[in-house]
């Protein structure tokens, strides 16, 4: 498979970036998207060019480290992470545009790597439960209704990759926020800090310069873990309740 790759190159956060075009031959359809970039980097290394920086870690779709804007779609055309996207989703002669996540809250570090610390700061502002250390309580010590356990589990699959922010025309992180709020809010352990959590996380979200949600829905269709839009409604409901409670 022969490809034309148009890739964003940017030396540092403050440097001006630009799109560069590369030709790559001998790509197998069994390669993952990141393996294809590895092959390109070997080619660049061989010709003494700076290899392209991109994030990756587990390469099995569970860590949330990788994430590229591929042909205008976060994580590319399939519902999965960039590492689990395979070249069989493309065909010989394709031109592929690769860009980093674009959001001012996610500054570009180098080439395709962005700094997603803003998501960690949101977690630090309330996306946790306070638990005493010591021996773990029995797993069934706190009963959880099946429906709630299922919903909490479904949204706990959020890996914090940032695709929702990247896909959102408003640059909002509401789907990420909603996933965390719903995950902890459905469980008994999340109740004591529930109302402070939503205020803290939303304030941090706005402080870091993410946009406001207008319910367009691009986030949910870009999410590799298929987090549904109703978590944003849950976020709004919790926020409304917290405000009524005067938090």
């Amino acid at each position: 498979m022969k490809l034309t790759l148009k890739i964003w190159r940017q030396a540092t956060t403050d440097a001006t970036g630009a799109m560069h075009t590369y030709q790559l031959d001998g790509v197998s359809e069994d390669m993952s998207f990141l393996e294809m970039l590895d092959v390109l980097n070997e080619q660049l290394n061989a010709s003494d060019e700076e290899p392209i920086a991109f994030d990756s870690d587990c390469r099995e779709g569970i860590c949330g480290m990788c994430g590229l804007m591929i042909n205008g779609q976060a994580h590319g055309p399939e519902v999965t992470t960039t590492c689990q996207l395979h070249m069989r989703s493309f065909k010989d002669g394709d031109e592929i545009t690769i860009e980093p996540w674009r959001a001012d809250a996610f500054p570009v570090l180098k080439d395709l790597c962005v700094d997603r610390s803003a998501l960690d700061r949101m977690i630090q502002s309330g996306g946790y439960i306070s638990a005493n250390t010591g021996s773990a309580p029995d797993a069934h010590a706190a009963p959880v209704e099946k429906k709630k356990a299922d919903r909490a589990f479904d949204v706990a699959t959020c890996i914090g990759c940032g695709a929702c922010v990247a896909a959102c025309p408003n640059g909002s992180a509401s789907l990420f926020l909603g996933a965390k709020i719903t995950h902890l809010g459905e469980l008994p352990q999340g109740q004591p800090e529930r109302w402070d959590r939503v205020i803290g996380m939303v304030s941090q979200h706005d402080h870091d310069g993410f946009g406001g949600c207008t319910n367009i829905g691009e986030c949910a269709s870009a999410c590799p873990k298929e987090i549904p839009l109703d978590v944003i409604s849950q976020l709004n409901k919790d926020l409304r309740t917290a405000m009524v409670k005067g938090r």
Partner: protein, 214 residues
């Protein structure tokens, strides 16, 4: 944004219903326009109800536009470097045209008020104020001008788009769509209100154009 939007939905629904009185003839339609001024008497003064509605709508409009401007500014600051190439996958066109559609509706509403309310401009005779004719005559004369009908129909298309996304978006913002089923219902309500309200409004200019109302 959501609360003021819901107020507009209620208003447009009632306004659309009132407009359909055009089908009962000149006398009934003019009576309806007059009754709006007497509504609530003797507890309210003459035109009291009308002014309460006007002030309420104006407050809602200010809230709606202010929220829209804040959201638009936040969005433009959130992504100052644009994508070279961005595809939208599953979002409705109506959801992505709320800002431009809203601005178009605002311009239309200004003209609509000049046309029928504060100015009373008859585009056919060129007369303004009381000389423009009674409400029914003014309406028929306006929609007998083909390009006026076109402007109104385009505005109703924009209104339909705005209602389609706005209805579901308001329920989502207020936190009432916490399950897949309620989300589906809110989206269906968006379709229903868009078709009923924008469609109902469009019936009158279309009927004038085709000579059903004259």
């Amino acid at each position: 944004m959501a609360v003021s939007g819901l107020l507009f939905i209620a208003f447009t629904l009632v306004h659309m219903y009132g407009n359909l009185k055009a089908f009962s003839g000149q006398e009934k339609f003019n009576d309806y326009a007059h009754h709006l001024r007497e509504f609530g008497e003797p507890i309210l003064p003459y035109e009291g109800f009308l002014w309460i509605t006007r002030v309420g709508l104006l407050v809602a409009l200010v809230a709606h536009v202010t929220s829209a401007v804040i959201l638009a500014r936040r969005a433009s600051r959130a992504r100052t470097t644009k994508y070279q190439y961005k595809k939208n996958k599953h979002s409705a066109l109506s959801s992505r045209t709320m800002r431009w559609g809203g601005a178009a509706l605002l311009l239309f509403i200004i003209w609509h008020l000049v046309n029928f309310s504060f100015g009373k401009v008859n585009p056919q005779t060129g007369e303004t104020g009381a000389a423009a004719g009674d409400p029914y005559t003014l309406m028929v004369d306006t929609f007998d001008v083909w390009w006026m009908t076109v402007i109104y129909l385009v505005a109703m298309l924009a209104l339909g788009f705005h209602l389609h996304h706005g209805t579901w978006s308001a329920t989502q913002t207020l936190g009432y769509t916490n399950t897949a089923t309620s989300r589906q219902r809110a989206k269906q309500a968006g379709w229903l209100l868009a078709i009923v309200i924008a469609g109902g409004f469009s019936l009158v200019p279309l009927s004038v154009m085709f000579g059903i109302i004259e």
